[in-house]
């Protein structure tokens, strides 16, 4: 398939996943506030911290109020990772490949964006935020469902899945990084009393609370981190995302004559997968949670870059070879 098309479908799915994650963070925070009546103002800043875009926020807003943060993360077109900006970008990408994706996907994405961009629907985000952000999450799930059930699971679909998995792994690692830093600033405080409510919120930010309960029952920071990084079956754990992305990449490469692991994207992703298999939470704590996650994020970015260079940006190479003749 065309490189540009692969690039668009990859990014379309990344942006949808990104929008869903932002919506879920806000949702969880709103719930958390109900349990923490005091110090309201302080509970919105971490949300912007997870995105890593405090600088841009502070340029445009004086305080981390609920209204300001919700507005920034949801509707601010000046902020490229707001839900609205993500959906606009997903739709732009979708529009450039609408002959590739199914018309169900396109029509859903189009309506999703048009309604969110419609000023008549926007007051609901502040008036009934629980419902509002739930709707956004469900629409994103619907999109993923349509991707799975209305489009052939060929090359394009595999690129879509890689985009989604890379984004999801990145977001899970960010939640964990920020929350771990805030809740347990010193690494050796493993046995200090912990705030159950806050750690529950961490799990909920990754939709992981119920599944964690089934597996490990009691909340404990070490196991929460282990679950979010290493669990093999939970669909938002970093390991699971990396494994799925690797399978998709393998399927894409099987279509060509090359052997396994022959290009930079395959190499980097394969190594990352192996490392996740042969590391456990004790290794991580020894190394330092933040150091580990920081390194993980760098490696995820490198994989993303390698996928781009291997599949999406062939023009410089082709032109160089044309110039040599």
């Amino acid at each position: 398939m065309l490189s540009r098309v692969a690039n668009s479908i990859y990014w379309m799915c990344r942006y949808i996943e990104r929008a869903e994650n932002v919506a879920r963070f806000i949702s969880v925070n709103l719930n958390l506030l109900l349990d923490l009546p005091s110090e309201r103002g302080k509970h919105w800043e971490p949300l912007v911290m997870i995105t890593g875009d405090q600088e841009l926020f502070e340029e445009h807003y004086p305080d981390y109020t609920q209204e300001a943060v919700i507005n920034f993360l949801t509707f601010d077109r000046r902020y490229p990772n707001s839900i609205l900006s993500c959906l606009a970008a997903a739709r732009e990408n979708g529009r450039s490949i609408r002959e590739i994706i199914s018309s169900e996907m396109w029509e859903h994405l189009n309506t999703f964006y048009l309604e969110l961009a419609d000023p008549r629907f926007q007051p609901m985000a502040l008036q009934d935020p629980h419902k509002f952000f739930k709707i956004i999450q469900m629409r994103s799930h619907l999109f993923t469902g349509l991707l799975d059930s209305t489009m052939s699971h060929g090359e394009a679909w595999n690129f879509a899945r890689i985009g989604m998995m890379m984004e999801r792994a990145d977001k899970t690692s960010r939640i964990l990084d920020v929350k771990y830093f805030m809740l347990l600033p010193e690494a050796d405080l493993i046995n200090t009393p912990i705030d159950n409510i806050q750690w529950t919120a961490v799990l909920k930010s990754a939709s992981a609370f119920e599944m964690y309960r089934k597996e490990h029952h009691l909340i404990n920071p070490r196991m929460v981190a282990s679950f979010l990084i290493f669990d093999n079956q939970f669909p938002r754990s970093i390991r699971h995302c990396v494994n799925k992305a690797q399978i998709c990449l393998e399927r894409i490469m099987n279509g060509s004559a090359n052997g396994a692991g022959s290009n930079p994207a395959e190499k980097l992703l394969g190594r990352l997968k192996a490392d996740l298999e042969y590391t456990d939470i004790d290794d991580v704590i020894n190394q330092g949670m933040h150091e580990y996650l920081d390194n993980l994020q760098t490696r995820l970015n490198q994989v993303g870059g390698a996928i781009g260079a291997t599949f999406f940006n062939l023009k410089p190479l082709a032109e160089a070879s044309a110039g040599q003749q």
Binding site: L2, E99, A117
Partner: protein, 476 residues
């Protein structure tokens, strides 16, 4: 009330209602249906159709506005009906015209017989901005230049059809024909069925057959692409739609590269050779090496590969000369010259400003004429004399004197009208008709076409950039 009881066909030819206020043959079923609807129902159906179009994302981009400004192409749910007898004349007339224009293109870029025989003035052709010197001595694959044409027809007060202009470069709008039909089938299913309307849905298939026919003979399963300027182009929806319907790649200039003299697509598996391009980028932008060097949309080396016979292209470069609005005046003579026949579809009478007698007449009658620049489209560069101010007419008089070659003038045609839903009333609005013609192994005229309607009361300008909309066209 959306009813025909108070409908006034006015002093124009009305496509559905005759001068006595009775439905024309073929329109009876439709009129009966509309009359039988409860009040408000037609408006509701209109709204439903608009919602459907927006949801399907059938929109065009408006230039010069904020990004993301998209509109649906305004659409009216009362169809225009063309009886079989009228259609027969249109179909045979268009086949004759397109055949002759193709001969003309082949001739002027090669032997130039028609110029030597002084049927068309040589300097008129050679001085046109759309004449491509680069095409001289070239014969395109299968000797076809204008593969896809959209010819604008109008019907005057006398009920006769006239050719208003030819579009031989990248005519757009056929996707609206197909989508309007989808919407109308849902709006008036029973009437549609009973009226025995000829299908238009065959178009993408015919287009694909034509493109395959152009591929080099030794290529068994040609790779075909639709070349688009990208998502910000106003016709992007159509490019995407056609490639989807044909099941071929939709490519942008950035997806293509010329290596070893052949055109390739950049794919996730490396380079893949392309055999045929249905290009929707104008000549000027298609290859920065040959035409405009600042073009970001085109493909460097494409024309070289094309002239070497390594890729086929529809339409061929250089076809713009045949829809030059001054050359247009000579088309009846061109038809006669190459076919020996009289034109089946007449031209609108045309005054050529480069011709001294004509120019004197035009300058003296500017208040009665429509003046057009030779190479503008979309309703730009045009003066509608009877509706213009004295200052506007004076300005055009200066322009004509300064550059007579670039202008022609025509009497104002009283475009026919079709009943149209305006608010909650049905009123007559002026229309034209653009049928689409494909030139492959044979010439195919899609039974239907785009009926463009001037939605503003009294307006004669049907272009979408100037407040026009569209209707479904039912050929019986």
């Amino acid at each position: 009330m959306e009813t025909f009881t108070t409908y006034d066909p006015g002093d124009f030819y009305d496509e559905l209602i005759d001068a006595d206020g009775k439905p024309r043959p073929g329109a009876q079923l439709l009129v009966d249906k509309i009359e039988s609807l409860p009040p408000g129902d037609l408006t509701m159906r209109q709204k439903a159709a608009e919602t459907l179009l927006l949801k399907m994302g059938i929109t065009f981009n408006v230039y010069g506005r904020d990004e993301g400004t998209e509109k649906i192409f305004p659409f009216d749910i009362i169809p225009r009906i063309v009886p079989a007898s009228d259609w027969q004349q249109i179909e045979s007339g268009l086949k004759q015209r397109i055949f002759a224009l193709n001969e003309f293109l082949q001739d002027i870029y090669n032997d130039k017989k028609i110029l030597k025989d002084k049927v068309v003035p040589e300097d008129l052709v050679l001085s046109s901005r759309t004449y491509r010197k680069e095409c001289e001595g070239f014969t395109p694959p299968k000797r076809i230049w204008c593969h896809v044409t959209g010819t604008d027809l109008v019907r005057d007060r006398d009920g006769g059809f006239y050719v208003l202009e030819d579009n031989l470069r990248c005519p757009s709008g056929v996707s609206y024909v197909l989508e309007n039909r989808q919407v109308l089938k849902r709006t008036f299913p029973q009437v549609f069925d009973d009226s025995r309307v000829r299908p238009v849905d065959d178009y993408p298939n015919k287009l694909l057959e034509m493109l395959q026919y152009l591929a080099p003979d030794h290529v068994n399963r040609p790779t075909i692409g639709v070349l688009t300027p990208g998502i910000y182009n106003s016709a992007y929806f159509e490019h995407s739609f056609l490639s989807q319907q044909m099941g071929v790649e939709l490519v942008e200039g950035q997806d293509l590269v010329v290596v070893d003299g052949y055109v390739h697509m950049l794919t996730t598996k490396g380079l893949k050779r392309v055999d045929v391009l249905y290009r929707r980028i104008d000549d000027d932008f298609i290859d920065p090496e040959v035409f405009r060097p600042d073009s970001m949309l085109g493909v460097k080396g494409l024309i070289g590969a094309y002239k070497a016979g390594r890729i086929a292209m529809a339409n061929a470069p250089g076809t713009g000369i045949a829809d030059d609005k001054v050359i247009y005046a000579y088309v009846p003579k061109i038809i006669k010259y190459y076919t020996g026949e009289e034109p089946i579809l007449p031209n609108v009478p045309t005054y050529i400003c480069d011709n001294d007698a004509d120019r004197a007449y035009v300058l003296a009658h500017l208040d009665q004429l429509v003046v057009k620049a030779a190479n503008e489209s979309g309703g730009y560069g045009m003066l509608v004399g009877p509706h213009a101010s004295q200052a506007e007419r004076d300005l055009f008089a200066e322009k004509i004197k300064a550059e007579p070659r670039n202008y022609m003038a025509q009497p104002t045609i009283s475009l026919s009208r079709v009943p149209t839903l305006v608010g909650d009333r049905i009123e007559g609005r002026h229309v034209d008709l653009r049928p689409y013609v494909l030139f492959g192994k044979e010439i195919y005229v899609q039974p239907g076409g785009l009926t463009r309607v001037a939605l503003k009361k009294g307006s004669l300008v049907v272009n979408s950039s100037q407040g026009g909309g569209s209707k479904d066209t039912w050929v019986l």
